[in-house]
């Protein structure tokens, strides 16, 4: 006869409600862990999907995502030819927004409202208004090179050299839909999924040429700048032939305008070749900065992102401590409620270890069931969060271990209390 099971059967309502309570707390702990991981994974998504080992950017710029770096497109040919390089792919990235009536789901509306209400004081309502434009990142890649969409979940990949795009499902764009970016219309020919920038903005893939068009259209100042700078440089250099200097400068600025720029060159290193060696090689060759993929992800988790993660992690720890205290208290009071029965069991000569086993089994069972419930609820609720939430089985296992340890510790405390029970307490006076 298992005393723990019998006792649970008797106190079923109390046991179930307590277990649900434990489960809900653990669900929150798991969710926060999932939110943290989601932000980190979002930051790594593009980098990982590209499959590059190194990212070549303009000297001293934190490109290509955190800051705008620019380098001539044709550098990639030279990089491709370098020793140890398996593949070099030029990439152009542009943040683009289109105005779009944003139709939030009721859940999304609720989340906005909830946030506004939750921060009512000191926060102006307009600061948290529902936006009416969709922002995304356009990634232009050379078809056939790395950097394109890793999966196509609907439609097809880009086949034409112009005006076709593959969008992440989160953009809300449909296949066949046309959107205007810069001076041209682009047609959605395929959908990919789970591709977001570190800002959680969804990705749109385009050909390198198209992306460059969009990029420069979005930045006419840059063009003017290039034109002026080149002109001035040529003017300075051409002083020996003053009569020629003006037409020369004009010519040069025209050429400069036509030089295609990219934001980065993604480099895949040949197997067996040390990544650092190739990185040094590239940096020596030109005034460029080369980052490893890990460093790229790390850069994207700078500033606000990183601090929010640290805050959330701390919050998760606090919650875990609270969960531990609550589980401990529940276990302890469960035992306190049974002190009289424990005294009777002792008088009947029940083996001490059997009494302890009853206390321990109930606590551990509650911890296990609570964790499983929490995990189930967490996994079920993940899709309803506005941003990626990714809890793993590893998280659940970790939680099981922590909760079991807590349950055992609480049981030991409860058992110590139980050993002090005077069997006399159930005898007559």
């Amino acid at each position: 006869m298992n005393l723990a099971i019998k006792d649970i059967r008797y106190h079923l309502f109390k046991f179930i409600t307590s277990t649900i309570g434990v489960g809900l707390i653990l669900m929150v702990v798991l969710t926060i862990g999932g939110i943290i991981r989601g932000v980190i994974l979002d930051s790594a998504t593009i980098i990982q999907a590209t499959g590059a080992d190194l990212w070549v950017v303009e000297k001293d710029w934190l490109g290509p995502f955190v800051e705008i770096s620019r380098l001539p497109e044709d550098y990639y040919h030279a990089i491709q030819a370098m020793h140890g390089v398996a593949e070099a792919s030029p990439l152009a990235t542009a943040w683009v927004h289109v105005e779009r009536p944003f139709r939030p789901t009721p859940l999304m509306k609720f989340m906005y409202m909830n946030t506004v209400i939750g921060t009512r004081t000191m926060v102006r309502p307009g600061w948290m208004a529902i936006p009416h434009d969709l922002r995304f990142i356009v990634i232009g890649y050379e078809p056939g090179h790395i950097g394109g969409p890793p999966v196509i979940v609907a439609g097809r990949g880009i086949e034409a050299s112009h005006y076709e795009i593959v969008a992440d499902v989160r953009t809300g764009l449909q296949i066949g839909e046309r959107i205007r970016m810069g001076d041209f219309d682009y047609t959605v020919v395929g959908l990919t999924k789970n591709m977001v920038a570190f800002t959680a903005d969804p990705v749109i893939y385009a050909t390198l040429d198209d992306a460059q068009n969009i990029l420069f259209e979005a930045d006419p100042d840059l063009l003017r700048n290039i034109r002026r700078r080149t002109r001035q440089q040529v003017l300075g250099a051409a002083q020996i032939a003053p009569r020629l200097s003006d037409p020369l400068a004009n010519q040069a600025s025209q050429i400069a305008e036509n030089v295609s720029l990219v934001n980065a060159v993604a480099v895949k290193v040949k197997p067996g070749v040390p990544v650092e060696t190739v990185a040094h090689e590239i940096e020596r060759w030109k005034h460029l900065t080369v980052y490893t993929s890990a460093r790229e992800v790390n850069m994207q988790l700078m500033g606000s992102n990183r601090l929010i993660l640290l805050q959330l992690s701390l919050f998760r720890l606090i919650l875990l401590v609270i969960a531990g205290v609550i589980i401990g208290l529940i276990t302890y009071t469960f035992t306190l409620d049974k002190l009289k029965e424990i005294a009777v069991l002792k008088l009947l000569g029940t083996q001490t270890r059997r009494i302890y086993a009853m206390i321990l089994e109930e606590a551990v069972l509650m911890g296990l069931l609570g964790t499983l419930l929490g995990a189930t609820l967490e996994f079920a609720s993940e899709p309803y969060f506005p941003r990626r939430v990714v809890a793993t089985r590893g998280d659940v296992v970790q939680m099981l271990v922590v909760i079991t340890v807590i349950a055992v510790l609480a049981s030991i405390m409860a058992i110590r209390r139980a050993t002090k029970v005077d069997p006399r307490s159930v005898l007559g006076t």
């Binding site: 006869m1 008797y10 009289k340 009777v344 009947l348 001490t352």
Partner: protein
Amino acid sequence: MEYAIQATDLSKSYGQGHTQVDALKGVNMTVRPGELFAIMGPSGSGKTTLLMILGLVTEPSEGRVLLEGQNIYNGTGLDLQRLRREKIGFIFQFSNLIPFLTAKENVLLSLELIGIFGRQADARAMELLEYLEVADRAGNLPEHLSGGERQRVAVARALANNPAIILADEPTAALDTERGLSVMRLLRKVSKEQGTAILVVTHDTRMISEVDGVIRLMDGRMVESDGSKQQSQPQSSR
């Protein structure tokens, strides 16, 4: 004839110095198998203390207890818990059945403690409940039993391990006279038919008719041990 339990010069003091309480002062008594004795005395006279010492719950300050001839408090560290579950049956004032176990499970638990499991335990538990006329309540939790039924189940539980002695501390106090008497008669029946030695603490003088003798305590001393109904007198002190 062998004694179920034999106590010699039992003394028990609680506390020390000027707060010391002498709960028992040199008590001698013997109970044979099949004998039913009542322990009577005013509140604070040491009845429960005596029962606890005989029930291997509390060590006496002085004196000797022989349980079926075995010297219990001889300082050799006997497994008292084990002796308790094998040789002693307890019945308490408020029955103290385990509330989360059914009547039958309460009896089964005591059987389990002495190593009887499965079908054999089942049969024995039902047999005991039938013997105490509560078999039809076997599947009920204690809270769904009446006070009298609870005490019957408690007696069944106390009998489960076929104990050398049953110790009952005011088992009838929470019952009305009618039910109290019926429980006493039950104990009487048990002691006669099962040959179990039984010691019952009670306040109710009407119960005297059912017992073989009365041990009267006053301030920790035995003032009278009336064994007139028994053919052989239990030994009385000094």
